[in-house]
Symmetry: C2
Subunit: 200 residues, 2 copies
Amino acid sequence: MADGDLIDGLIDALRCLPGVGPRTAQRMTWHLLERHRDAGRRLAAALVEAMDRVGQCRVCRTLTEHETCAICASPRRDRSRICVVENPADVVRIETGTDYKGVYFVLMGNLSPLDGIGPRELGLEQLAQRLAEGAVSELILATGATAEGEATAHFLAEMAREHAVTATRIAQGVPLGGDLEFVDSGTLAHALSGRREVVF
Amino acid sequence: MADGDLIDGLIDALRCLPGVGPRTAQRMTWHLLERHRDAGRRLAAALVEAMDRVGQCRVCRTLTEHETCAICASPRRDRSRICVVENPADVVRIETGTDYKGVYFVLMGNLSPLDGIGPRELGLEQLAQRLAEGAVSELILATGATAEGEATAHFLAEMAREHAVTATRIAQGVPLGGDLEFVDSGTLAHALSGRREVVF
């Protein structure tokens, strides 16, 4: 359709990006080739650098170009609380949206035995060792409210109990600013059963 | 926000793509770093190759990695009709949406005196030379139905008249004020087959 393998190759390669279909990939390709070749070259360089040099934090497993991520390396973070999340994007979400001051542990997924993802693939031996060291008082389970996220949270709660560490699960309920009209029945049932006494 | 300059640099570089804002760029970055590093490296290679090696067809100015594009090089195309379009994406749209068998001339823009884009920048000397050679019988003006597209079409129609070549404008059917980018192929086919001679 386009003229030459290089153009078609770029259109094809752009489709590795999430949410980019054939038409969007085509539009991106023309945009870069017609007027933004320098930006295209900078993007290529940024990709190579990041793909080759970004690794995982040796403490919490999040993505970082350093041996230890900024949060794990910070002397101002409370190491007695570990918040377990599914991926690095969740760390950014909690950092920007809350005032949480503890540290993290990033699973890079969820337990999924059928896909061959067990405790070893999620680095749980490493987490167990941190719990065994005795400095952790609370393990906050912030995996998603999906079947996999719940199963993983359950497994982690058992692990915390074995090490006499309190496990907590982030609350499930009606989202802030959400009308009850737009809340699904499952969420509503959770919100109702998880109700708290109003304290003045 | 993210961990390290490389991750932030990639998020930033991805924003050169049209329609990619900060949140989408972040999602793309995590997607590539977490599970698709090989695809990211392939994308980088495709970018470098395309940015460096795609040039313009010496006949019609469309983007191609060859000296002459596939259409201009084809012996099966009718060289007596030249369809003038704004950009290479329009060529692809007409090729896929209609049964046009002539050749093209790609302006790579529109006349825009305020931005310093005159006939020279659009390669119109080259087009005039083709018209002067006497083998062209029809110049199809398929610039957009925008103010710039109309002005450019008018200029080209004058040029065609000077060389005693019939100028035709793609028919109404392209919605007023609409770029060719947003026109469905059926409408585009109607517009092409319903073209009318420009009468003074």
